[in-house]
Every structure is written in structure tokens, then in C-alpha cells.
Symmetry: C2
Subunit: 212 residues, 2 copies
């Protein structure tokens, strides 16, 4: 059936990628050992030569997602030393990533992860914490050099950063593409940026806490 035999290391990745792509295309519910095997060009039982079971396969897919997110983080940090530019670029990359790989939110929010094995949940938690931690680091560094408002809570701001995109992506998917996600992100970013970042001159004043 398959063209050739391949070393386990290569097959393992092939299988994980196939599963990832299937989730993108059809959602989590429809991936089965059978469907993944078929996509790789192999018989279902062959999967078990490389994974102990479905759980281990899903863990492997989470690994792929982790890679993508980390890659984005690195790329964003490399673009500029300006925290605002870094974060803006990260938002751009994140938007792109999710548009092209619906599998990511799909899997991360899926039932299998959220209610399935504790191991999957912990793994997912770790991945998200790492990513959000990266965002937070950008903000904290920005604070040090005075580019980020000192009175902004960086933990909260890093999560809210995710909130810029998450609802938009959801609606976008439900609307079957008719919703203008790019515009939404743009406008939401403006709101976010204006509050989180200091102005270049560093002389913005707007009395934050003593008004209520």
C-alpha cells in the first residue's frame, strides 16, 4: 500500500503531520486511527508500530503546535528591539497561523484535551503558559525601557493580547469566512496598544486610577 518503508522517526512525524492536517480540514471528531493511517498511505494497525495509542498521537500533534507557536515568538522578537513592533508582528503571525491552521484552536479547545486524559490537559496548559509567558516577557522588557505603561499589569495584558484574536477567530470561522477578521484585529489592536504602550515621547498623561 505504502510506497516504501521508512524509519520510525520519519514515519512518526508523517503521522503527526497527517493528523494535524486532518484536524484542520475536518475537525477533531473525524480523525480516527483509520483516517490518519489512510492519509499516510498505510494500514491502521501500522500506526501502533509508532504510537502506543491515540493519546500518544494527539500528544505528538500538540508538539507540532508548540513548535509553531515558539517559532512565531522567536520570529517576532527578531524583527525589532521595539516591544510594540514585536508584539504587533506577533499578532500578525498569530493571525496568519490560525487562519491557515484552524487545527490549533480546534485541538486546544477540544473536548479531548479539556476533558480527556490529564496528561493532554497538562501538556496544553504548558504550551499556552509558555506562549503567554513569552508575550509577558516582551511587555516586561518594554516596561523596563519605559515603552510600556508602568501601571499596566503585564500578566493580565498578556492574556488580553490573546483575547484580541480569539473571539475574532471564532466568529470568523462560524461566519464561514464572511467576517472581516483582519479589520477586527486591526481595530482591537488599536484599543489595546493605546492603553498598553507609552507614546514615543513618554509624556502621555491620563490619570489612571483616581477616577472611580
Amino acid at each position: 500500500m505504502s510506497k516504501e518503508r521508512v524509519s520510525s522517526k520519519v514515519r512518526k512525524r508523517q503521522i503527526a503531520v497527517a493528523a494535524f492536517e486532518l484536524i484542520c480540514a475536518q475537525g477533531i471528531k473525524r480523525i480516527s486511527i483509520s483516517s490518519v493511517a489512510h492519509r499516510v498511505g498505510v494500514v491502521p494497525s501500522a500506526i501502533y508500530r509508532h504510537f502506543r495509542g491515540k493519546l500518544e498521537l494527539l500528544e505528538s500533534v500538540l508538539g507540532l503546535i508548540e513548535e509553531s507557536l515558539q517559532r512565531n515568538l522567536s520570529e517576532a522578537r527578531a524583527t525589532s528591539c521595539e516591544p510594540e513592533v514585536q508584539l504587533r508582528h506577533l499578532l500578525f503571525l498569530h493571525t496568519k497561523l490560525i487562519r491557515e491552521n484552524v487545527a490549533i484552536p480546534r485541538l486546544l479547545f477540544s473536548d479531548d484535551v479539556q476533558f480527556g486524559d490529564a496528561r493532554l490537559r497538562k501538556r496544553t496548559y504548558g504550551i499556552l503558559r509558555e506562549y503567554i509567558g513569552g508575550v509577558r516577557k516582551i511587555l516586561d522588557e518594554g516596561k523596563e525601557v519605559g515603552r510600556v505603561q508602568a501601571n499596566v499589569d503585564s500578566a493580565a495584558a498578556s492574556l488580553l493580547f490573546i483575547g484580541i484574536l480569539q473571539p475574532a477567530a471564532l466568529i470568523w470561522h462560524l461566519s464561514e469566512g464572511s467576517f472581516d477578521v483582519t479589520r477586527q484585529i486591526e481595530k482591537a489592536w488599536e484599543i489595546y496598544r493605546a492603553q498598553v504602550f507609552s507614546f514615543p515621547t513618554g509624556t502621555r498623561k491620563n490619570g489612571q486610577e483616581d477616577t472611580r
Copy 2:
């Protein structure tokens, strides 16, 4: 098996509620006609006296969710005529709702809805649009009376409002409750509020667009 016979109208709701509670407790994947029937105290085939199939049942659960969200919206609007207070209260209600009924995000983001029947997807889309529309209305009214910054895009701001809570709820659930969701919401709201709402005096100035 069941204590008594009940009219279809009542049973229908019982069944929908049972399904909703099961989703809360165990996630979507584990609800089956069997499990729902068992929870109601009835035999699986009895479900089909009231619903054409599983799809119709899920639609019915979506109806329950719609009710909750609309109820929150009404209650929030009734608390005050101040848009800021209304929105703050809505955030509070929303937090509470999601903490107590994990089923809501669970179902709305589930595979069954996102990749299942187009009908479910449209229904969900409608529910969310209605809810977000309500938020937007609050913001637009606020603009009219000068309580909301005129240069804020209300469509974007209403979606970002959802973004205050959504990522926090996700992390909270993954962390198995150890994450302090209340504090996160509080801080994120501060960021949001400060940018979206005008100050009581209406004299805030911070040059929005000419800085980059």
C-alpha cells in the same frame, strides 16, 4: 423506570437540561442519547419521542444557552443607565455564568458545532452575534451620551469585550482552578475600560491617531 409520564413540552426541557448538565460535567464527547436518557430516568428510545435525533437535541441545548446570555444582557442593562456600569456588570455575570456552566464555551467551541451540521453552526453564529450586538448597543448608546470615546470602533470593542474573558476562562479550566480568574478579569477590565470609556469629566485627551 421513570417516576411518571410527563407532557412532551416538559420532557423536552428536562432532556435538554440533562444534556446541558452532562456537558458541564463531562464534556461533549461523553454525552450520548443513552447517557442523557439515563440521567432523565428514561430509556434511550424514549428520547426519540421528543427529538428527531441528536442534532435536534443539541439545537435545543443551544436554545438554553441563548436564554442565559439574553438574560444576562437584560439584567446588566437594568442595573444602571451608565454604560460603563452596565458593561462592568455584564462582565461579572458572564464570568459567573461561565464558571458555573462550563458547558457553554464547551459546546460553542465544540467540534460538533464548528464542523458538524451547518444548522448548528448558523444557530451558534446567531446566538453570538445577538450577544455581541447587545454589547455593541451599550457602547453605541454610550457614545451618544459621550461616555464612550468617540474614536473607539464599537464593533471591535464589543468583540474585544469577549476577549477579556475568553482566554482567562480557558486557562482557568486547564489549570484546574488554580488560576486566579477573578483577578485576571479585574486587571484586563481596567485596561479595557481605561481606553474605551471617557472619564466622567469628559475631558480626557490623549491624541489617538497621530502618534505613529
